[in-house]
Amino acid sequence: MSLLDSAVTGAPLERREGLLRGYLPVVLAVLVLGLVPPLAGGSRYLVSVATLLVVLVTYGVAFNVVFGGTGQLLLCIGALAAVAAYTSALLSGELGWPLAITLPLGVALATTGGAALSWLAVRRRLDTIFVGVVTLTASLVVHNLLLGRRELTGGETGLVVQAGSGTALRDPVLGYYAVLALLAVGLAGHRAIQRSALGWAFRAIRDDAEAAALAGIDVARTKVLAAAVASALAGAAGSLYAHVEGFVSPTTFAFATVDVRVIVAVAFGGLGTLLGPVVGGVVVTLLDEVLRPLGQLRLAVYGAVLLVLFLAVPRGAVPAVGWSWHRATARWRGRGTSPAGGR
């Protein structure tokens, strides 16, 4: 199995391929994204778009781990990010607690929330769509609470994040590298999971949870673990973004702003693939920026483009590219096996 195949299909590499080669796709992706600030030529606007892109990709990695990995349709990535971000911003802002305490606390709260939802779904044996709708209602509840408790959250107008002002996080470029560092951790973590026994457990569960249980995999624990990891990553990304931006509002984390874009990005990039969220996130962000001059018609054209993309590459761009690459090289390598996975 070649390096590219493995990056594409998310299949664990055999250990003899070595640590360096296993993580090469992660390193390359992060290096490319790291070139943005020098190339932006001091444009604050470009850096802020890129920051949002990296945060979106990080959310995407989280969603990819939990849905692409274990088939749990967690539609509350934005809400989990909001929980972590508001917790940290409010505790630091109102009570003056240091970021070093409130940031982990917010992430812990989001992790607990995501894991609890997953545990509930596993306990009640909810199907994909049911998990999706329960987590969707959870994220709408969070959204409405943020809107409703305006004496705390500022409601619709949003909240200026006091904590973190004056720190390095508020420097646009350093802030960008901070969120990029988190993405690097997320991608490397996903890679590590793929290479470990846990990765096999994920694949087995996604294929057939019952068969996985019969094979001795603790399905409930694995699913809850995946949800916890994803929630922690999403919470950390949301919280970090709040402190880098210095401002949060319910819209920042709304279902339509975060989850819809995450689903679109991950689905387009390729569900369950390592680099799918990166490719999908870049395409979604580029599409947003390119279509901006269209004004009100933007949404319609965006939808039409997505429609074409989804129908043209229903499995996602990364697997599609990988598949053509594999086809092209299969003859040369003299064997006609097909890459596994990458649904």
């Binding site: 909810l126 509840v141 409405n144 018609l297 933007r298 939808g303 429609l307 129908l311």
Partner: protein, 318 residues
């Protein structure tokens, strides 16, 4: 009493929404995220007819007609590739494709008629119902919802076409083996679901108004009602709609408007978690088998091998 009546007015509309989206899902595993957008599109075009001085009945006819045409049009074009996939792949692709369709419809509406709203004012003084003063429009909306639901049930349970629909919902391949054409049944269901979307638009226009931005919320409400009712179960969706309408009215009266949504959504989430098989339950059948039902049904013939078939036959034992 006022709570019950208000709740029923809203609840009947939610019921129609839920039934409309649930029918299609039950039949084909396509969860239509463009459902709310279709309602809004039909309503806005209806409002244009009214704004142009057209008679009210023409406006209503155009609204319902457009909803049907949109439904069929979308089903025949962009959903065709979705129907060629099976199992979970179909469910996921249908979510993405209908989401994109919703973007297209919303985008066109927002850019062309950003401020349009569809509203059917009903003249006349409020009417006393059981001691509660109700607006004529609300009563008409409730009546329309009730008629639409009753008509749907009669169609499903007394006609041969309805029996064919129920069969395909339960087991598409079994229906084919009995000589029922799933494609024809799907056409009937898509038309029915579109007509129900039109009914929601008209009823909402009677009770209050439909604005351009309402599509997303309508879709979410429809999905929540359908899932609380037990996806694909028409009676469940109807009951779930009315119950959630009552919860909404009760919450508005007790905890105030701002927390109403939180209460409603929590009620929905708790119901789903406690009864994933739907608010009505299954009459003795184990929920596990029910939830497996549609995924097995749309698992499709082209993934079956001899060994698969032999394995699956084993499930029926005992």
């Amino acid at each position: 009493m006022a709570i019950v009546l208000d709740g029923s007015v809203l609840g009947l509309q939610l019921a129609v929404l839920g039934v409309g989206i649930s029918l299609v899902f039950g039949l084909s595993g396509v969860l239509d995220l463009a459902y709310g957008a279709k309602v809004v599109a039909a309503a806005i075009v209806g409002s244009l007819v009214l704004a142009g001085g057209g008679p009210v009945l023409l406006g209503v006819a155009v609204t319902v007609g457009l909803a049907v045409v949109l439904s069929l049009g979308i089903d025949r074009t962009v959903l065709a590739p979705v129907y060629r996939r099976h199992g979970e792949a179909r469910v996921v692709l249908s979510l993405l494709v209908t989401l994109a369709v919703a973007f297209v419809i919303d985008g066109v509406l927002v850019s062309r008629w950003p401020h349009a709203a569809f509203s059917l004012a009903v003249a006349g003084p409020p009417v006393d119902v059981l001691g509660v003063r109700m607006r004529g429009g609300s009563l008409l909306a409730a009546g329309l919802g009730l008629v639409a639901l009753a008509a749907t049930f009669l169609l499903l349970h007394t006609t041969r076409a309805g029996r064919a629909i129920r069969c395909v919902i339960q087991d598409e391949e079994g229906a084919q083996l009995c000589g029922i054409e799933p494609a024809r049944v799907r056409t009937v269901v898509v038309v029915l679901s579109g007509a129900l979307a039109g009914v929601v638009a008209v009823a909402q226009g009677l009770a209050s108004s439909v604005a351009v931005a309402d599509g997303f919320d309508l879709t979410i409400l429809a999905v929540v009602v359908a899932v609380v009712g037990g996806l694909g179960r028409v009676a469940g969706a109807a009951v779930a709609g009315v119950v959630l309408g009552l919860v909404h009215a009760l919450a508005t009266a007790t905890v105030g408007a701002s927390a109403t949504w939180v209460v409603l959504l929590l009620a929905a989430a708790v119901t789903i978690v406690l009864r994933p098989e739907g608010i009505l339950g299954l009459g003795g059948r184990a929920p596990r088998r029910h939830t497996a039902r549609w995924s097995r049904r749309i698992a499709g013939p082209d993934r079956t091998t001899d060994d698969d078939a032999a394995d699956r036959a084993g499930e029926g034992r005992g």
